[in-house]
Structures are given as C-alpha cells and as structure tokens.
Subunit: 311 residues, 6 copies
C-alpha cells in the first residue's frame, strides 16, 4: 500500500484513512455534500462525498478511521480523492489512529534514549536538577507532541526529534567554541520548547489552546522554571539564567521574545533552533522537488522558493 | 531657598545638595578635577570641582549630602554650578537624603489610602485574593519606588502615583463602557508595573538590576502571579487572564510584550498606561515652557516638541 | 420578525429586505443568475436568484426594498439565503429604506441633544464661534452619516454617536488632568471627523467620494476651518490650534496625519478617538462570541482575535 | 576678496562679515567669551572672541555686519576663524546684509522673468486664475525666500530658483510624455512650495515659524487654494485637482503627504521635485570634492557619500 | 476584426488566437474540461473548453495558434470567452505567433535606429567600446525581449522601447543639468537592463530562468561588463563606474541593488528608470479609465488607484 | 612589557608603539598640538603631544614606529597616554610594523595548512578547480588581510582565521545534516569573503577602497568566479551555484545581498558566517568583563550588552 500523499492522477485507492477534518456543504444546485480531509502517515488529501445526508454526517466525523475505495483526480490543479466507496471500521478491524498519523522517522523511544544521554553531561547541580524536574513532569507529552502546528516538525514526536537534533548540534558548537557554558546551552535547548505541550492541543489535529494563545510557550516555561526552583528550593543565579535562555530564544521582540539574547549561550540557542527548524523544512521540500526545479514557496522561510541543483 | 533647578545664570547658591553622581577627570593641562551631579527636590545640576585631589575624591562620593556655596553660570548653553565652597555635613546637621530627592506631589501615605480603596470594588474572589497577596508582598517597595529611571514618574513614590492615577482613569472608562470587566481592569492596573520593584534598584540613583535587564518587570510579575496562585491554591481562568493582562500591557512585541492584547480589558490597560505616562511628561515639560514656545524635544514622545498655546 | 443576521441554517425567511448590492452572473453551465446582498437593521446576507432574466435585472437593482420568502442554508461555510419567492413592494406597502438600515442604538435626536450640551462648556469665543459655525453648516449630514465605511460606527448616525461618546470621555479626562484646555479638546473632538460628510457618500451603501479619495476628511476640514475663520473674521491663534487638532488626529504620518500631535490636547484627541473606535468594534465582536471562545480576526485591530472570558 | 568659505588654514582675513549667530560662553577656567557664526556669500565659519565682556555682547548680536581681521586655523579638524580685530560698521560704510548672504546664482529678477513665461502656457482658465492669484499674493516673499532651512536651495531666492528649474524639467517631461496635462503639472510645480513663505521665517537666519511647525507648508497652501477659489468664485474640479497636487507632492505619508499621488501629474511632480533638489545638493557637494574622492556624508541623501570620478 | 481584449459581453468572436496557457481540469460533477488563456495583440481572455478529452488536450497545448468561434460572457464579474467552435490551423493558413503577441507601438527597427544614434554622443572611448561590445553581443535578443514579465513594457520589444525612451529623457536632463557626465548616464541607461535577456525566457509566455532567479539581471550584467573589459583589455576607472551604474540602478538594497547610488549619474539613472516605467503603466491604465473614474489598483505603483480628471 | 591596552591609570609606559593615526590640532588658547593613536598587539590608545611644531608633524606621521615614555591617565572617563618622551626609531632598532599590529592568535602558516586540508574533501571537479584557481590568485593577501575594518576578525590574518573556523563548523553541520552538498558549502565558505582583499586596503590602518565602496566584496567575487570559469573554460551549473552562494551570503537585501539564499547550502553559509563572527566578538567582549557584569554595548550585535554569569 503506497501512502495517500504519493499517488498520482488516475491511481486508484483502496485503504484505511483517518478523517482529519469533516465539513458539510451544499452545491450551487442546493445538494448537500461533505468535504473530508483524509490522511495516512504519508500526508493528507481532500475528498468530496456527494449526496451526503444526515446519516453520513453522523457516521463520518473528524477523528474516525474509515475504509475508502476511490480514485485520484485533478481539481483546479490540486489532487483530490474521488470517493466511490466509504465505510466505517468493522469491529474486527484493528487499525488505529496512531497507524495513520505522521510521526518522526526515528522511533520515539530511540530518540528519548539519545536525548537522555545529554543529561549526564550537565555538571552544574542546580541546572541539572531544574532541567530533570521539568522533563520528568512533562515526559509523557514530550514523547508524543509535535513541535508546531505547521512548518517544521509538525508531526507526532516532532518536539522530541527537534530537541534531540538540536542537542547534537549544540555539542558540536560547544566543542568548536570552548568559551560557551555547555550546561547552560544544553539546558536551554532542552527547556526552550517544552512549553509547547501546554501551548498546543496534542499530536492529532493540533491547534493552539486558549492558554497557548494568551500566554505562549515561552512564558509558560518561564513560570514552570520559577515554580520548579521554588519547589526544589534553589535560588542561585542559575534560575535567572535558565529563564533568560527560554525567554530570549526567539531572538527578538518581533518574534515573541520580550528580551533579546544577552548571554552568549542564548544567542547560540537562537541560531541552533533556527538551523534545525530550517533544515527540517528544506529537507522535506527539496525531497519533493526535481533537480533543476524550484520548491513551492515556503512561508516560514520568508516565502522563498529553493532551487534543487542538478549536480 | 529656591530649588537648584529653578535658578538662572548669575544666581548665587548656598544650600544643601545630594551628590547624585561623582566622577574624576583631568583637564587638558593635566590637572585633576571632579564632575558632580548635585540635586535637590527641584531637580539636578552639573558642577565642576577644580583641583580635586585624593582627599576630595574620598570626601565626595555619590549618595552623600553636602553643603555648597557657589554661583550659576552658562557653560556651552547649559547651566552649570561653579563651586566656590563645599563641605560635608556636620554631625549636628539633620538634613537627609529623603529631603533632597524628588518625589510624588501627593504624600505617599495619602496616595496609598486612595489606591487601597479600589480593592473594595473588586468582586471576583480569585482576582481579589491574588491581587491583595502580591500588593502585600511588595507593599514596602511599592510605597517608595519610582515607575521608571527616566521619562515619566521617575521619582520617589512615582510608581504608586502612576498606578493610583491610572485607577482613577480606569474607573471613568468602566463607567462609560459598561461591557468592560471592572475586576480585571483594576487588577491589571494594580499588577502591571509592580515588577518594577525588582527590575529597578530603588528610589535613589535608580538603575536596572541584572534581573531587570535579563527578565524584565513583565516576566517577573507573570511568575509572581503564577506563584501566588500556587500558594493560594487558585487555579481558575482568572490566573491566566491576569497573567495575560500583565504580559500584554506594552501593546506590541516591539515594545516588549510577547503577546498583543487579546482581552478588551488588556487593550484598555495599554491605553490607560499610555495616557497617564504621557500626561505626566507633558505636564512637566509644558510647565517649563513659555506660552508661544515649544518644549525641548521629548525622547519618550517620539522626540516631538510640544507647543504651549498663548490662549 | 427576527433580524436577517440572527438566523440559522434551516430557518425560513418571510420579510422585507433592502437590496444593498446587485450583480449579474452566469453559472459554469452558462445560465444567468443574480447575486444580491440583502439587509435589514440586524445586518446583511448573500442570496442567489437563479434563472434571472432581463426582467429580474430591471426589477431588482441596489437601493430597492423587496419582499422575500426563502430559507437559510450553508454555502461553503457561510450562511446564504435561498430565495424561493421575491417581489417588489406594492404601492400600499409603506416600509422604507430607513426601516432596513442599521443605525445607532440611541435615536439620533437624543444623541444630538446630548452632543449640543457640550457647546455650552466652551468658553473661548473664537473656538466657540468657529465650532458652532461648522456644525450648523453640516448639521443635516452629521445627523445621519456613518463614521466610516466599515470597522467602527459604520451605520446611520454612527458619526454623531462616535463624537458624542468621545465627548463623554473627553470630559472625564479633562476632569482628571486639569492642565488640559477643555475648550480645545472639546472642539477638536467635535470637528475632527465632520469632514467625513464630504469624504463619504452618505448613510446607504457608503463609499468614498472622489474628493474623499483625493483630499481626505482631514484636509477637507482644515480648509473648512480656514474658511469659517475668514467668514467670521477671526484670526487669533485659535484658528491655527484648531487646524492642528484636526490635522494631527490620526497620530502619525503613516496613518494620514501630515503632522504628529504637538499640543497635549491633540495627543489626547488621538487617544480618545482610538479608545472609542476600538470599544465600538470590541463590543460588537465579543457580543457574537461565546465565553471561552475567540472572536474572528478583526482587521482594524491588527488582525487580532480577542478572547471572551468565562468569568 | 575671496569668500570666507573658500579659505584654508593659515590664510589671513580682512573683510566684512555678517553675524549669523552669536552666543555667550565661559571657558573651563571661567573666562567669558563669545562664539560667532560669521558669513558672507560664500558660506559661513565659526569664530571665537576671547575675553568678551558686556560691551562686546552688546555690540555684536546676530544680524549685524562687522569688519573682521584675523586668521584661519584648524580646531579639531574643522576650520575656525581666529579673530584678531573686530569692529562695527562706520556710518559711512554702505555694505548691507544683502551683500553678505548667499543667494541664487542667477539674479532674482531674471529668474522671475523666466518663471513668469510659464503662465502663458497654462490654457485652462480656472487653473490659470487660481495660480496667478496666489503668486500675486505672495510675490514679494517668493522673490527672496529660500526653499528650505538647509539641504537644498537654502539661500535667498532659492525658492524661486528651485521652482523655475523645476518648470524647465516639467516642460521637457511634458514634451516626452504627451498624455500629461501640462496645465496641471505647471500649476502644481508653481504652487507646491509657495506655502514655505509662511512656514519659514525669511531669507536670513531662517527658522520654522510656529505655524510652519504646527501646520506645514503643504496644508497652508491647500487652504490658500481653497480660499482663492472661494474669492474667485471658482468651483470646478480644478480646485480639487490643484489641492491634490500640492497635498501629495511629498510622495508618501511618512514624508508628510497625507495622500499619495493619485494623478499622473502628481506622481511626476514628486519626481521633478526630487530630481531638482538632489541635483542642487550634489552639484555643490561634488564641486567641493577632488576627483577620486568621496563627498562628506549628505544627510538629505540617506547619509550617502558620492564619488567624484577621475574621468 | 477588433482585438479580443476590447470586446464586451454579448459580442461574438470569430478569429485567430494564440494559446498562451492551457490547463486540464475536472468539474465538480467529475467531467473533464480545459481552461485556455487566449491572446491576440490587444490582450488576453480566459476560455473554458467543456467536455475536453485526450484528443483536445493533445491538439491545444500552449504556444499554438487556433481559430475560435464563440461569444463573450460575464463570469463572476470577469469577461470570459465561451467557445462554440475551435480548430487548429490548416496548412494553408499563414498567421504566426508574432501576429498575435503584443509588442511595442513603434516598430522595433525604427526604435533600434533611434537607440543607435545615442552611441555617437558617447565621447569616452572606454565607455563607448564596452557599451558597443555588449550591445552587439546581445543585439538579437535586445530587439525582441520584453522589459519585464508584467507591470511595464511587458511585451515584445518592450526592453528596447523602454531604453530608447529613457535615452530621450536622459538627453533632456543632461541638457538641463550640465554637471552630469553624459557618457556615463547614456551608457548606464543602455546597459542597465540588458541582463534581462538572460534573466527572462523570451518574448512569448515570459518567465524567469533559473539563472534569472538565482543571480538576477543586475549581477549578470556586472559580470558581462567585467568580461567585456577583460576581452577588450580595458582597465580604466570606467569599468568600475559602469559596473556601479548597473549595480545601483534599483536605488536601494530592498529593491535588489547591493549598493545605493554613489555617483550623481547613478542617482539620475534610478529616477529616469522609474519615471519611464511609471509613465508606461499609467498611460495604459488611464487609457482604460473613464474621466471622473479611478483606475483599478496598480500593484507596481504601491497598489494605488489613479484618478482620470474630467478637465 | 605589558600590552598598551591592558594598562591602568597611573601605569608608566616605556615601549615601542606604532602610530596608527596622526592629526594636528590647536588648543582653545591657540597652541598647536598633535593627537596620536598609538598601538601595539594588545590594542590602541589615544595620546596628546603638546606644543607640537612643524618638526614634530614631519617626524610623526601615521604608519611610523616610535619609542614612547609616558603615563596612563583618565581623560573624561577614557584612558589616555600622557607623552613625556617620544623619539623615532634609531637605525639599529629592528622592531617592525608587524610586531605591533594585532593578528590572529594562531600563526597564519598554521591556519593556512588547516585551511588547505578542506580542498581535498571537495569532489566535484568544476567546483574544486574554480575554488583553487581563485585562492591561488589571491593567496598572498588572504594570508594577511583582516576580515573587516572593525567588529570581528579586524586584525592581520583575521580573514584566514574566520574562514578556517567556519570550515570547521561547516564540516560538523554537513555531518549532522547529510542532505547538504558538502562541496558547495565548503567552496561557499572559502570564496564568500575573499573579495575583501580588494574591498579593503590591507592589514594596517584598514579602510575601504573606492572599488570596495562602489562595488563591494560580494560583487567583486561574483565577477572573479565568472572570469575564473571563462579562463578555465568551465560552464556547468556549478558556476551559477557558486556565484549564488557568494551573492546571497548576507542573507537579505537590506544587508547587501541582492538575492536571498535559494539553495539550502546558501542558507547554511549565512548561518555559519553569523555564528563565527558573533562568537569572535563575544569571546573578546566577555573576556574584558567581570563575572556579574555586562559588556559594553556591542554595535554589531544590535547594540546589546551581554551578561557574564557568575556560575
């Protein structure tokens, strides 16, 4: 079975798919229909279900796995799935939501094992204790949350993958620039985005929570560090330094950091975060682009198109 | 005794003054001298102490009250005090620092009494408890701190004066626009700037603390609200709302608010803060400007000069 | 009869409606139809009139009141009125345009009475005479014009409602900050937007006039003040001050004010205008939003969504 | 006699000079002195008058012509005139202020004659009448005012020179792009800057007037057009068009035009104004720069330095 | 035969047209169709070809001339051609692509003759040789390329028309401002945009080439000047000056010039380029606009609408 | 002998120093003196030479090594060297300019050896040949030039040090993100700044050349690549890719790159360049800052001060 996002016009479809979004509509002639966004691990596609009455609306809400037969066609330059047959799962079918959502390439358990190794390199006891305390508190969500709703690492375990990849880069940079405080930089990488497990709703149909909208993952994490320090009865300068690392990691005010980086480690955290996010986006965009062609415009990269060389 | 900042060229000086800043220098001819910034309640003036040896440097550091005899002269278009006689206080002289620093026009006790009345109008128990808890915690500093190092309310008890004046305006606006939640707006006014008692060093020779530079009064207060809620075991939506009020009160990212206002009360808090700060600056700048003339350029008002009408 | 903008999918319609806009079209199959925007006091809705020939085009232009029978349905996520029956008014039906357009909540006569009271508080005779002269000249339009084509107070008598509400706020602010010149601020509020009666086309299907586009309400009013002063033979500084109040009320160059405010009263006018416009937008947006939800994005508020608290 | 601005270090001075600015000061040693800015037609230079008592202050205010003997020296990288001898004019000396201020290269009478020829090419009677009316009203000042306080055409009759030069360019452009309305463009050139005769104080020691600061030459002229039309009882579209030409001639809001150009002639006026102002600045800056060198930074040209080629 | 872009709803069509773009689609009912953009010298129009099978897709690709019978209709406010009859050319029909694409009003040979005259006015031998060398190298493309893909001179020979028109304006400006170096300015005009013959794909269905996207016409031409100088063994300052003229002609960094103009001739080139491009856009936009009306919004003119006066 | 930049007030000086800048002046009393900027490997200091006649001016121009006796003093808050004795070198003294200018910590020969190793990892023959060709052409200057006039690597061999350090980082990043083309990234690092050997004047008293100002190192290098390819008869896509790498390495138009990065390797080059430049600045600024203190404001880091932690 090929992934739904890899098919071409004319290919036929006969597989399980997760309904990611489900909306009712009415044609210009007044006939009711449904628009479904259907996904598997390879990505998602839009589909129309014509002549959809109340029964269909009840049977096919978002979040449900269904079995679909149909064909891929072109609609105004975009691929669309033409549904010929659709049915809910039978009781004996065991396919689950987790089998149909995108996730990190490396299994989350393996990522977490690598991620954990970096704790052993943190020597400062205050930094170590605060960081471990917070990772333990949110460990379950950290294993499965995406790092964003779109753009980069926007899939299950994307957050863990992003942070682990950043730790590798942080290690290289500390080796090359030995004046950097390794403890601060590692802890900064680990803590900087964990607030996303409160800012976002979870790995499926990810949206911003009200708290995410009103406070943001940066402030949520600063408060968590403050509370961890209080609970652990730590009040050294490390608390302020870690809070500043998180606070400033978007680099400037316009990007949501109320303070620009004022520690050399904070400046590096900003760069490491950017490099890893951009490489994640570029890798995927270029993998879908023929040599000699440009990618589609990438919104999170200033709306640029990138060229895939022929050499 | 007229205030030091009200004198003109040729006026003679014979009064107590506080040394606000003290710096050593050397003339182009190699002679040592000291530059002193001297202040009383009316403001401050620069002075040169010629032929100042080690003895003088020891006797006249910043923060000390001295008695000065001298004369006001013009030096490159700015007034300067020419010191003819200077001496430290004698043991029997009782003048103190507090007699020589600028402070709010209204006595701080009277301001606090008015300020306290607004608590009675807050009906929501969660909002009321968190707000009272934080005010109690920082009450002592709130009585004496300025609201800023320069620009507006930059004198002793300026913070309390600013917040009390804002509460008056908040009351009027709630009366005129009844859809506003009075509890949220009052609590937002009260909490929004209290973090300054950690961001700034105190009422004399005010500077930013390291924590002030690295975290800022906005984030300091958000963490305080979080800790107050934890201590008081409150976890209703009010916590998030109060945190957002504080977080967004600078109005946009470029001004240091990581989130723009997303509550109508937060939007109003931004306006009330601006109006009160600007009226404080304009009142003082215009009081020093003749009718038919323009004020000096006011940096915090986009470097504008304001006109004092003749009508 | 409920308002057209309050109905839900499936509700039937049987009422008078004003045709706000009328456009001819042709289906993908080549059949002619008409798209009508229909409104009553509650708001407006789009409708399709299928198989609309030349007769229909002639009968149903914009600006006409019709009687409609039909049903509300969902079309691509937006409500649409499906017309089952439509007819022009019969000679004996007395419903008029004014019964079907949105207007200020408070009757315009009552608003004008309140508005007029503020003249009595203006003591300066030059300011008083110029202001009265201009209000008299444009009184008729002032009674009915909206304050804008969209965003805030964009309904009949919206201009008068906006100015009256601003006068109330100006009064409070003058009481709290007594260094403000009440005459200047009141006159500034009164005059600042009256140029809109030339900039805009009127209370129905409001658009910008050519003069509005090429000169703008700010410059139109400055010229009116100049002419009023000439006619009344007034040449005191008041003329220049009033012109500056109007000229600078958008606050900065990018917003269409060729001069930034350089009078403290002009600075306050800018704030008062903003507060009143924003409260008008927020009140309406939040009234359509459930507690715990965010409003739709509000373009004139930097495209922000606002949260409606549950407390 | 060479001009004062053409002298080099070591040259001696023995000539009449106009005191442009006069300020009292006191040395670091407490001795009184005066700083004079002295000028002739070639430019200006700073001078110090040491040991200047009350008598000197009385004798040498700004606006007075004096006779000076002295020498040019270098003071911190800038040229300075060292005064050895200074005296007021004797009754029999007939040199006047007008002999010592910079002015247009071409005599103002000759400029005005050329300027006047362009009126004959304006065919539209309304445009012609309004333009002539305003030029007549301000003719006297137009003959002598500068076009600015600094940067370009900042000398006596600079305004007339600027407008005449622009008319020549406007003529060429109308010849090359015949869809342009020659009447509108000529009238726009003529009227666009005449408001400067109210915005500025005059040809000597030019500063902004209060009205200039609060209203600006653009709005002043729009009101003048409005009044001229009223007086001449003209109310055709021409009035609006001329007002728009003046209103938009700074090209965008940030530059003080409340409306961007919306007539093709207004767009061209913006370009013609820019070209002529910049050529005036560049001609003078490059004339003082050796081939192979860069000019000093030119503030009004985005702080750029321009290169003077060796070819 | 009227041009396709001048027809109105209801007009019938019976003429040769060039297929500019050809896309397959499928209706909401699943039927295949084609969308064609068809053009002649007057402009282009969209058309739908219903029930288009594989045969049609094969017969009607972009770049082919066809004969069409049909009718103009309105589709959602835009004109559309309803195809009733379509057929490929017969062998005996001699109409070619060049008969159906837009091109400069003046024939390209006549433009080139005028363009060539300006070479005779360039006196500096280095400038003359480099300029002639490059024009000869790209002469063929210069005769036919457009100056852009859209906005201005975006038709066959538009590049040559633009440069020739700019040379006329450069001549006038050099006459009026004699300190300008005529050789530099003429050569700058001639060379500044020739890089477009590599940046763009050609006169038909013009798009950016990969090299155009990655390097841009500015850098392409700078390298060409460098190579021409090497080939001609010229190494005077003229090489650097010509490279700077080309490099800086977009005026500032944001517009793609890595250096702002630092020669007075470079500054003028920027203005001349702008004036000619804008007059080209405005002439065409205003020719389609009734007196008393505004043009559609013009993207390349800051999205402004321009007014067509009634006088 | 301690370095001149490490001394404190009161320390005496008795050493060789290089005159970096030499300027004549005159005191307020009219006495001639010279201002000298004197340097050794540790940095530079200002000095005054009083009563300096023509003889002194002749003896002590910039670029000369002298022997100085004197004392460090404070002048208006900055250190200054008070010269008590100064003399030119005697014929037998062998100290040279290279002994007194700052240079990279690692010897340039060692840097070059490391730098050269990276060539062996470039596999693509076209990229390899072009890169080697250009490095050979400019090898001599590459060994000694700084990377800038100020801010980062602004000392002898700074350019080579910067590029070598960037190559180390590029290697790490290619290891972590294997989709990157190592050849392109290495060649981009090597070529990106070599144009500085034409843009700047050399390792001593570094200033911009005229060509540097008018064309910039980016365009200079793009032309060099073009010429190298022509000479080597290479015309594959590699030429365009290398040119784009150099062209876009400042990241955006405002920073002098006429094209934003459109290759993933170009995007990474931008980051690597930034990281290495910033670490160079931060390392030096923090090394001069006590723990618990902030650095001075760093202009090239958005004018930020950085905090040196106490942990």
């Amino acid at each position: 079975m090929s992934g739904i996002a890899t098919l071409k016009v004319g290919d036929s479809v006969d597989q399980y798919l997760l309904i990611k979004q489900s909306t009712k509509g009415v044609t210009t002639m007044g006939k009711p229909f449904m628009t479904l966004i259907l996904q598997d691990k390879s990505g998602s596609i839009e589909a129309k279900l014509w002549d959809a009455g109340e029964e269909q609306v009840r049977l096919y809400p978002a979040g449900i796995v269904v079995h679909i037969g149909g064909e891929i066609q072109d609609y105004r330059g975009k691929l669309q799935l033409r549904i010929k047959q659709i049915r809910p799962l039978r009781p004996d079918e065991t396919i689950g939501v987790e089998d149909l959502i995108q996730s990190s390439e490396t299994p989350k358990e393996q990522l977490y094992e690598e991620f954990s190794q970096y704790f052993f390199e943190i020597k400062n006891p205050n930094i170590s204790r605060i960081t471990r305390h917070i990772v333990r508190k949110f460990q379950e969500q950290l294993m499965t949350f995406p790092a964003a709703t779109k753009n980069h690492h926007e899939y299950a375990s994307g957050l863990l993958e992003h942070e682990t990849s950043m730790l590798r880069l942080a290690k290289s940079i500390c080796d090359l620039y030995p004046t950097l405080n390794r403890d601060l930089l590692y802890a900064g990488v680990i803590l900087h985005d964990i607030g996303k497990v409160i800012e976002l709703s979870g790995p499926i149909s990810t949206v911003y929570t009200a708290k995410g909208n009103l406070l943001g993952h940066i402030n949520i994490m600063v408060s968590e560090i403050e509370k961890a320090a209080a609970e652990l009865e730590i009040d050294g300068e490390e608390v302020m330094l870690l809070e500043h690392m998180v606070l400033s990691h978007h680099g400037k005010e316009e990007y949501g950091s109320p303070k620009k980086p004022m520690l050399q480690e904070a400046e590096m955290l900003f760069y490491i975060d950017n490099i890893d996010a951009k490489m994640n986006m570029l890798k995927r965009a270029l993998s879908k682009t023929e040599p000699g062609e440009f990618t589609e415009r990438l919104f999170a990269l200033d709306n640029r198109s990138f060229y895939n060389p022929t050499i």
